[in-house]
């Protein structure tokens, strides 16, 4: 039962084969068995989850058949959830009980989903390994010596290890897609503006976007039907009708034009990931798609531009953490400046402080043109590369990450960690929708394939991902190490 997809659970609940209380209890048992080892959850909401599940069962008895009614989920701990600890992976918010719900949380509540708990993450979503969390690193369920990826590592690990049916994540430079690739699950970053950012703790406001982490592309589409849509509380939320993302999943791929960027199949890509992606591309050809090499000539500049834009926006966003209104405050400050400086130096971890310093430098007098403005110009070149490519192809496909999950503690210098997101970052700069889906394993670790669509082409990206999953079983592969775990397999 716990390894079922949302679509399967939804059908079983509708048929009366199981109750939400039963399935919720099964996940709570699984979390009790495995979270000590995986550290995927920071907070588990046992009592409120069972209460919500009972309410869902009662609502179902009165005829409510909403697809997510009674389905247990986990939210990344970046989403404010009312009366629940919301830490963003930081000591700064170690005591922050949110007084309100993020828009995403509210939408899942309205759909009747059951909140199992809040998942671990890199501090303020800054990291690609989940090792910057104040609450300790998450372990990869496929190999507990490896990272789960980041920053949404807790959500990806929780979905992979069947600690929940589905989870939310956020993606600023790859934070949904890279952990999805490392944990062998499906992770989707929608177009910028498609899902409300209200109540999602801000990292880089022009790049951040929430999305689903799920066991299949179909589940991601079901979740998107609940998550997507205009929210007047988020001034960058887009006023565009929301499609039924499940309606087009079964569209034929006959005639689909797939572009593969030559820059993403070059030096630095491991042979096994390249082979796995090429095998999946061969499946697409069998489904009637054509493959064409394309050029994204400025893609090598995306990491450079991103490490100006994201830290600059972060340095502004994180100035709100000052020890005055909520969160951590240092002991016995001697004066106001001492309070600000010690609160922030003790409350933030190393990586967060580093990015605040970079961003502050890039925005400081005399450097703005050389850094921030220059990066915005590069951002335009990157967006234009995609615009030209999408005149010739329908989707762009490549590897999500150059390799499989790396060992915990193996990347100590920040620059090598930043280069982890080399294939995913450009998509955030351009605001495009993109998904990572599993395409097999190498040495016992999963690999992910990246599918990028044009602006607001989420339905097409989900359709292309779903068709591969209908014709392959890579997304059904499960971590073997967990087979010995107690509870239901």
């Amino acid at each position: 039962m716990i390894n079922s997809t949302v679509a399967e659970l939804s059908a079983a609940l509708a048929a009366g084969d199981i109750s939400s209380v039963e399935i919720t209890q099964a996940y709570l048992n699984r979390i009790a068995d495995l979270n000590g080892e995986l550290n995927a959850f920071i907070t588990v909401c046992e009592e409120s989850a069972l209460r919500q599940a009972a309410q869902a069962d009662a609502a179902r008895a009165t005829g409510n058949n909403s697809p997510l009614l009674g389905i247990p989920l986990a939210h990344k701990d970046i989403f404010c959830s009312k009366d629940v600890l919301t830490t963003c992976g930081s000591r700064m918010l170690h005591n922050f009980i949110s007084p309100y719900n993020a828009a995403v949380v509210e939408r899942f509540n309205d759909a009747g989903a059951v909140l199992l708990g809040k998942t671990n993450m890199d501090e303020f979503a800054m990291g690609s390994s989940n090792e910057t969390s104040f609450y300790g690193a998450v372990k990869n369920p496929w190999n507990n010596e490896c990272v789960p990826g980041g920053s949404s590592g807790g959500s990806a690990a929780a979905v992979a290890a069947d600690l929940c049916a589905m989870a939310t994540g956020t993606d600023t430079g790859g934070s949904i897609r890279q952990p999805a690739a490392f944990c062998g699950v499906t992770g989707f970053k929608p177009s910028y503006g498609r899902v409300s950012r209200w109540g999602m703790i801000a990292f880089a406001s022009s790049l951040d976007q929430a999305g689903p982490i799920a066991k299949s592309a179909e589940d991601a589409a079901i979740m998107m039907n609940t998550m997507a849509g205009l929210d007047i509380k988020d001034s960058t939320s887009i006023d565009k009708p929301v499609e039924d993302y499940t309606a087009s999943l079964n569209k034929s791929l006959q005639g689909l034009r797939i572009g593969i960027p030559k820059q993403h199949f070059a030096k630095g890509l491991s042979a096994e990931v390249e082979q796995a992606v090429r095998n999946a591309l061969a499946e697409y050809e069998k489904l009637g798609a054509s493959i064409k090499e394309i050029d994204l000539p400025n893609s090598h500049l995306s990491v450079s531009a991103y490490y100006v834009v994201a830290p600059a926006e972060a340095s502004a966003n994180l100035s709100r953490f000052d020890g005055v209104r909520y969160g951590y405050r240092c002991e016995d400050p001697v004066d106001l400046e001492d309070m600000y400086k010690r609160t922030r130096s003790e409350g933030f971890g190393e990586e967060v402080k580093r990015r605040i310093l970079i961003g502050t430098y890039a925005l400081s007098a005399g450097f703005y043109d050389a850094y921030y403005r220059k990066a915005q110009k590069i951002r335009r070149l990157i967006k234009e590369d995609f615009n030209s490519a999408f005149k010739e192809v329908d989707v762009i496909v490549g590897p999500t990450s150059p390799h499989t999950a790396f060992k915990l503690g193996s990347k100590s210098d920040p620059v090598s960690m930043y280069l982890e997101d080399i294939y995913t970052i450009a998509v955030n700069l351009a605001g495009l929708p993109a998904i990572s889906i599993p395409v097999g394993t190498a040495n016992g670790l999963p690999m992910g394939m990246h599918i990028v669509g044009g602006d607001f082409e989420e339905a097409k990206v989900l359709n292309v991902a779903h068709q591969l999953q209908q014709n392959s079983d890579w997304h059904k592969q499960k971590p073997a190490v967990l087979a010995s775990a107690k509870g239901e397999a």
């Binding site: 503006g193 022009s206 500049l301 400050p333 430098y361 400081s364 605001g431």
Partner: protein, 95 residues
């Protein structure tokens, strides 16, 4: 561009962060490495390129200037490290 320790201290002050003497050297090295990564973008001529601040080409929505939120001061101030009589308390600012 390489930074020196005094520049890092100046930036840290602007960001209201404290960098201790024992950390300063490592922080300076790390930031210099990151700036080297960033400086790869300087090799491209962008004189004729318009900056892109935001992925969406949209206009800011405006709303009617009226109060839409309830006053939740008491509830919100419960989250504060130190508050009294509806005010947030901080160390004394003026003598």
């Amino acid at each position: 561009m390489a930074l020196d320790k005094s520049e890092v201290e100046k930036i840290a002050h602007l960001a209201r962060l404290h960098v201790s003497d024992s950390e300063a050297e490592e922080v300076t090295t790390r930031i210099t490495d990151i700036l080297a990564l960033i400086d790869q973008m300087q090799s491209v001529d962008t004189d004729s390129v318009e900056p892109l601040a935001h992925p969406l080409d949209v206009v800011q929505r405006l709303r009617v200037d009226q109060v839409t939120e309830e006053n939740q001061r008491d509830q919100l101030q419960k989250l504060a490290p130190n508050s009294q009589d509806g005010l947030y308390l901080v160390p004394q600012v003026m003598e």
